[in-house]
């Protein structure tokens, strides 16, 4: 399992190993506890003239594979994410495709998927801690160079995500000084709003830096409080990338990740901030210093110390980018895999009526490259024979009409182990000529797309992305 994170400032890789085997106790196949076998040192993201090039990304990948002693062929699943300012380059999708090709087995590769990035950071940084304190609500603030990705959840489950342009590198400086070396589009908009000149080659004066840092701190507090109004008018509205639905609440514990998060924990554990204020050539150290002065933001720094801190996204990518299916899926042929970029067009309740099913299948028929429906059991309980049989028969009725081409994949994702039985009823035990795949034991999520990797040891990696 691999995670590759190309961010605004730094890039990292993490490789984990797990074993997919049969549980003698339950008889089911599943993945064991992943073991991290490689954590790369952070590299400065190899921009050339503010652009990330395919060759440089592949060179990083080769270096990491070599250092970890891993063959590309051994990679079963994983993720590549290009985030923040790195994703602004027009070639992000090309890079993603090149990495996919190099790693032989399919991994998910996305650029500028803010919701996914927030979710990954939470899973990588906060999930284990939130499971250790299952009654507490946790918010993770992943503060990087271009954005702050937030995710709120309880007991390991994320309920809200959001993304804001609060980042260290909207104003970049020449090393050792505050002389501007570059300004992002957001940085320019902020400078315009506050009416100061952000000209490359000229110093950014203390008062201007304070204006920006004050705004950042106010925005972070507004995020924590769930103050939606702050982001509905200027200058807060300039910071919104993916609005969060978080309305605020009691007992919220904060965790931090990303480059700024790493600095915060370093200081709280007795370390010092780097001596040169602009050592990293951005506002990262200044922002960390300001957060440390804000009691409401730093009250949990000592009590809740997550284990991955700055490496949360890459950890999340390595361990959580794919969900592993159950072992008894309905799949007419493994040669259908991998299946990429299927739009998730809706949810079907297990007790869906004939009309509901007809409507859903009609929508699927319009997606000529294939589509996905998520199947939802009643109140989270395992469905009865009657439910499965009835839904299967409704589906069979529609599929028999030929509304969906025989070679157009229709993917059903079920959260519990009833994929094969549902698929069997829906295809009348294989007699209806349709490419119906039912992957089970994969939790439903609010996403736009899903991809399936290749099967290995009877299980399939399932990738969700484009989170709402």
């Amino acid at each position: 399992m691999i995670g590759l994170d190309f961010g605004s400032t730094t890039s990292r890789a993490m490789i984990a190993r797990t074993r997919v085997g049969q549980n003698r106790f339950s008889g089911t196949l599943g993945a064991g506890t992943p073991e991290i076998i490689y954590r790369s040192e952070p590299l400065f993201t190899p921009f050339v003239d503010d652009v990330l090039h395919v060759e440089d990304v592949l060179a990083c990948l080769e270096l990491w594979l070599k250092q970890s002693g891993t063959c590309a062929e051994d990679i079963f699943c994983g993720g590549l994410i290009i985030t923040g300012l790195a994703a602004r380059g027009s070639n992000a999708e090309t890079i993603a495709a090149a990495v996919e090709q190099r790693l032989c087995n399919f991994i998910v590769a996305t650029a500028a998927d803010a919701g996914l990035e927030s979710w990954l950071a939470y899973m990588g940084n906060t999930q284990r801690m939130s499971q250790a304190f299952p009654r507490s609500q946790f918010m993770n603030l992943d503060i990087g160079g271009g954005t702050t990705n937030i995710a709120v959840g309880r007991n390991g489950n994320v309920s809200e995500v959001g993304c804001f342009h609060i980042g260290a590198r909207h104003f970049r400086f020449q090393p050792g000084s505050y002389t501007l070396a570059g300004v992002s589009e957001i940085g320019r908009q902020l400078a315009d709003y506050y009416g100061f000149s952000a000209e490359v080659g000229r110093p950014m004066v203390r008062s201007c830096r304070h204006l920006i840092l004050d705004l950042y701190i106010d925005a972070l507090l507004a995020i924590v409080h769930g103050d939606q109004a702050f982001f509905q008018c200027l200058p807060g509205s300039l910071l919104v990338d993916l609005p969060s639905g978080w309305q605020g609440g009691e007992d919220l514990s904060l965790t931090f990740s990303g480059g700024v998060g790493e600095l915060l924990y370093k200081v709280s554990e007795g370390g010092a901030l780097p001596a040169t204020i602009a050592a990293f050539g951005d506002l990262g150290i200044d922002l960390a210093e300001r957060i440390l002065q804000e009691p409401e933001l730093c009250r949990h720094l000592k009590g809740h110390v997550p284990e991955n801190r700055g490496q949360s996204t890459v950890y999340g990518l390595a361990i959580h980018s794919a969900e592993i299916s159950g072992h008894s899926v309905h799949l007419p042929s493994p040669s259908l895999l991998p299946l990429r970029h299927l739009p998730v067009i809706g949810r079907l309740c297990i007790s869906a009526s004939k009309d509901d099913v007809a409507q859903a299948i009609a929508m699927a028929a319009r997606c000529t490259a294939g589509s996905c429906l998520q199947i939802i059991p009643e109140a989270g309980s395992y469905p009865s024979l009657m439910d499965v049989r009835r839904l299967g028969q409704h589906l069979a009725e529609q599929l028999k009409s030929g509304i969906i081409n025989a070679d157009t994949p229709l993917l059903l994702i079920a959260p519990m182990d009833f994929g094969k039985v549902l698929g069997s009823y829906a295809t009348e035990w294989g007699r209806i000529p349709v490419t119906l795949i039912v992957v089970d034991e994969v939790q439903e999520r609010s996403v736009q797309f899903v991809s399936l990797g290749c099967a290995r040891n009877y299980v399939i990696p399932v990738y969700y992305y484009g989170m709402h």
């Binding site: 250790a132 493994p334 000529p433 290995r456």
Partner: protein
């Protein structure tokens, strides 16, 4: 030093030509009792145990038994020497030969003693003298004298003997009690295994060995587990050794690849047929394994006690290769074989098999004590596992009595299974709490090096009177971790982990014992499992269906459990009531070892099965229900009905978990009829008389494979079996991992690939000894247009490689013999 320096090669061991079988007679109160041959006499003289009763080797009443004992007591050791026990065919097998590798000088001093006199001599002599006598005795002699001994005799004499062993530490000294940590996990999850090892170490266990029974015997997994345990040993600094109890061939492969193997494990048995057919090894193979270990093992040059054997009364009977030899005698013969390899540890796991060998706690306790005495007398460092299964009339109380007696008798070690229930093998054994209780009651310490390590880690302390006491870190595994949450995180993947859930505040211990909440949860789970094992089919429920009710030859639940063969056949009336029906498939419902499992799941599985099979155009017979049946009953039903396939739905042996005690299996038993399939199957299995192949879908319950889903899986599997005319491993090789219904490939979007390859190119490819065949290998064969490939039987094919084999239509043949 090599093995021949210790023991003679097989062909140099002298074994007397068996004298003509003698009839032993005795009159008691005017009635004559006679026993045909020494084996029968030995069987009759033993305490009555289920396995011997089932095999017809035990006698019916106490007078017969005492008559046999009286006759035995008057036989000399020379008589026993002159009558080596033979196989059914009249041969002397290799295990018997090895047993005659004795010290003839010592034998000469006792040869003319009767067994009764020898028993009396034992009661008088010291431990070292006893051990000296043992060197001049064969397993049969040892078993014979053991049958004349009572519980007190066995404990009194076993206690006198100490059999030392030296590995990384020194084991078996007076005043010590050692333990093996057994961190078994159903998926070999290394984090969970680590948690259980650390838990065990924190309670002062593991000085004998940290020994894992793996769930997956592949080279990769065994190598990973060995390496991981070795790292754990080094990280904690615990002066002990590690072992992964896989098949010996896999461990030897690990040695060849440089993986550290401290201790080489193998299960052994007391007849050559069990050894070869049950455990896939022979004496000559074991000799070679010893030599390899002596040269390349992790402890090579430091000790020669690097072998670890597991034994236990009843394996020969369970496999059906007992050769007319009773369980205790076969066990003593096993010890004669163990002795050849000067092992560092031997563990008797009598009780593991179940009620077909030991019906209740008393039978298990007697066997435990016999095993300990016999093993020690033959010079073996004996550990004993007083274990039980949920379907035997044995329980925790009997087990704890056994532990007391065995400790008193000087057992070298017990196992430490987390909370006393094995999560992979579904049985109950001793826990770390039991070991600590014994240490404190009898003031016993672990091996000296390990004791000092424990003192250093504050796991133990020594009080002013020199007694062992729990230290401040006893039972605190987090002392080995960065934090308690790190330990909890690893522990969360351990099933049946009562009281150890993340964030739980349940106290873990009460003194050396488990805390009350943990005991109550554990015992309740066991009670539920036991009830499942003794439950009956719910006929009211089943009669709602359209069924026909038949009987097996087991007339009661007790007979069903104690005599497995009875459940393998229909009762005569039931058989006669059936006539050939020309159906494709017959569904049969029977209780197996848990009727509760059937009652819970069958009503969900059956409708799906019927829907799927009928939709597939298959002809089904009216469902049959047979109380008290076993899997093999399917063959009798095929003979009666002439169907192609029987789907047997039956309950599995319950473990100690509430959910898993309701676990059902489906066995799909295929009758091979056409010439080509018969030929292929017999060649594949190397069994000339093979008539049936079977596939199994296990763990059907809501915590495993839910019954609805299982129904669809069974339908798919049944169609595949009928399509390919093969089941079991042969089916897997033929079809690969298609994850779909046969016939799906004929649908329009999956063009059915025709075998239109030219007859040129390479027809065969031999992989030689290559152990891992991946999809990349098969892709190359595809490019070369290879039609058949030759591989070792022990080679592991990846699922995708098997897919590709099916897609490319490449046949598998084997290039080696078993």
């Amino acid at each position: 030093m090599s093995l021949v320096n210790h023991h003679k090669p097989l062909d140099q061991i002298v074994v007397p030509v068996p004298a003509r079988e003698q009839v032993y007679r005795m009159r008691v109160a005017g009635q004559e009792y006679s026993f045909q041959g020494l084996a029968a006499l030995l069987g009759a003289a033993d305490y009555s145990k289920a396995g011997d009763r089932g095999a017809g080797l035990a006698v019916d009443n106490e007078i017969q038994r005492e008559a046999a004992r009286s006759i035995l007591a008057d036989l000399t050791l020379q008589h026993i020497y002159d009558h080596p026990l033979t196989t059914r065919e009249g041969d002397i097998d290799e295990v018997m030969v090895v047993n005659y590798n004795i010290d003839h000088d010592v034998f000469g001093t006792i040869a003319q003693l009767t067994l009764g006199e020898l028993r009396d001599r034992f009661m008088e002599c010291t431990g070292p003298e006893l051990l000296e006598f043992g060197t001049g005795m064969t397993g049969v002699m040892v078993a014979a004298v053991t049958k004349l001994m009572s519980v007190h005799d066995l404990v009194f004499n076993a206690r006198k003997m100490r059999c030392h062993s030296q590995l990384r530490n020194h084991l078996g000294f007076e005043g010590t009690l050692s333990s093996r940590i057994q961190p078994n996990h159903p998926t070999d999850d290394l984090a969970a295994i680590t948690a259980m090892v650390l838990q065990g170490l924190s309670m002062g266990n593991g000085d004998q060995v940290i020994g894992l029974n793996p769930s997956d015997d592949t080279f990769d997994n065994i190598a990973a587990c060995l390496t991981h345990l070795d790292q754990l040993r080094k990280q904690t600094g615990a002066p002990t050794q590690v072992c992964v109890l896989s098949h010996i061939r896999t461990q030897l492969a690990c040695i060849e690849e440089g993986v550290p193997v401290d201790v080489l494990f193998q299960s052994l048995a007391g007849t050559d047929k069990t050894l070869r057919r049950g455990f896939d090894v022979s004496v000559s193979f074991m000799d070679k394994a010893w030599e390899t270990m002596n040269k390349k093992g992790a402890l090579a040059g430091k000790t020669e006690q690097f072998m670890y054997f597991e034994t236990g009364q009843g394996s020969e009977i369970s496999y059906g290769y007992h050769e007319g030899i009773d369980m205790a005698t076969a066990e003593a013969l096993t010890y004669g074989l163990c002795r050849r390899y000067t092992p560092g540890m031997v563990n008797s796991v009598t009780g593991f098999i179940g009620p077909e060998t030991h019906a209740n706690s008393q039978e298990i306790i007697i066997s435990n004590l016999q095993d300990l005495f016999m093993g020690k007398l033959m010079g073996l460092p004996m550990g004993v596992s007083p274990c039980f299964t949920m379907h035997a009339d044995a329980g925790v109380e009997g087990q704890e009595m056994a532990v007391q007696l065995l400790t008193s008798a000087g057992a070298q070690y017990f196992v430490d299974i987390h909370l006393g229930v094995d999560r992979m093998l579904s049985y109950a054994d001793t826990s770390g709490h039991d070991n600590q209780t014994m240490r404190e009651m009898y003031n016993l310490r672990p091996a000296p090096e390990f004791w000092h390590w424990c003192l250093d880690k504050k796991i133990f302390i020594e009080d002013k009177l020199g007694r062992i006491r729990r230290g401040p870190n006893w039972g605190k595994p987090e002392a080995f971790c960065d934090s308690r949450s790190e330990f909890d995180d690893m522990m969360k993947n351990v099933p049946m982990n009562y009281g150890y859930g993340s964030g739980t505040q349940t106290p873990k211990t009460a003194g050396p014992r488990m805390s009350s909440p943990i005991v109550r949860e554990l015992r309740m789970n066991m009670a539920v499992a036991r009830q499942a094992a003794t439950s009956y089919l719910n006929m009211e429920l089943l009669e709602q269906l359209d069924i026909r009710l038949l009987d097996s030859r087991a007339s009661s639940l007790q007979e069903h459990h104690s005599n497995p063969a009875a459940g393998c056949f229909l009762a005569v009336d039931s058989f006669d009531a059936l006539a050939p029906e020309q159906c494709d498939i017959q569904i049969v419902v029977t209780d197996g070892l848990s009727a509760e499992a059937v009652n819970t799941n069958v009503m969900d599985v059956l409708p799906v099965l019927e829907d799927g099979l009928l939709s597939s155009g298959l002809k089904l017979g009216k469902t049959i229900v047979v109380p008290h049946g076993r899997v093999k009953l399917a063959e009798d039903i095929v003979r009666a009905l002439g169907c192609k396939l029987v789907i047997m739905l039956l309950g599995e042996r319950p473990g100690a978990g509430i959910e898993s005690s309701r676990s059902m299996s489906a066995y799909l038993v295929y009758h091979l009829t056409d010439e080509e399939s018969l030929k292929e199957a017999r060649l594949f299995a190397e069994l000339p008389g093979l008539e049936f192949e079977d596939s199994v879908i296990p763990n059907i319950y809501q915590g495993g494979t839910p019954p609805l889903e299982a129904g669809a899986i069974i339908v798919e599997q049944a169609r595949q079996i009928l399509h390919h005319k093969a089941a079991g491993n042969r089916l897997k090789c033929l079809q690969g991992f298609m994850m779909g219904l046969p016939g799906a490939a004929d649908l329009p979007m999956f063009h059915n690939k025709q075998d239109d390859r030219p007859v040129g190119g390479i027809r065969f490819y031999d992989f030689g000894n290559q152990m891992r065949i991946t999809e990349a290998d098969i892709m190359i064969l595809g490019r070369w247009e290879v039609r058949e490939m030759l591989v070792s039987r022990r080679a592991v094919l990846s699922p995708l490689a098997m897919d590709l084999l099916a897609i490319e239509r490449i046949k598998i043949r084997y290039n080696d013999q078993v």
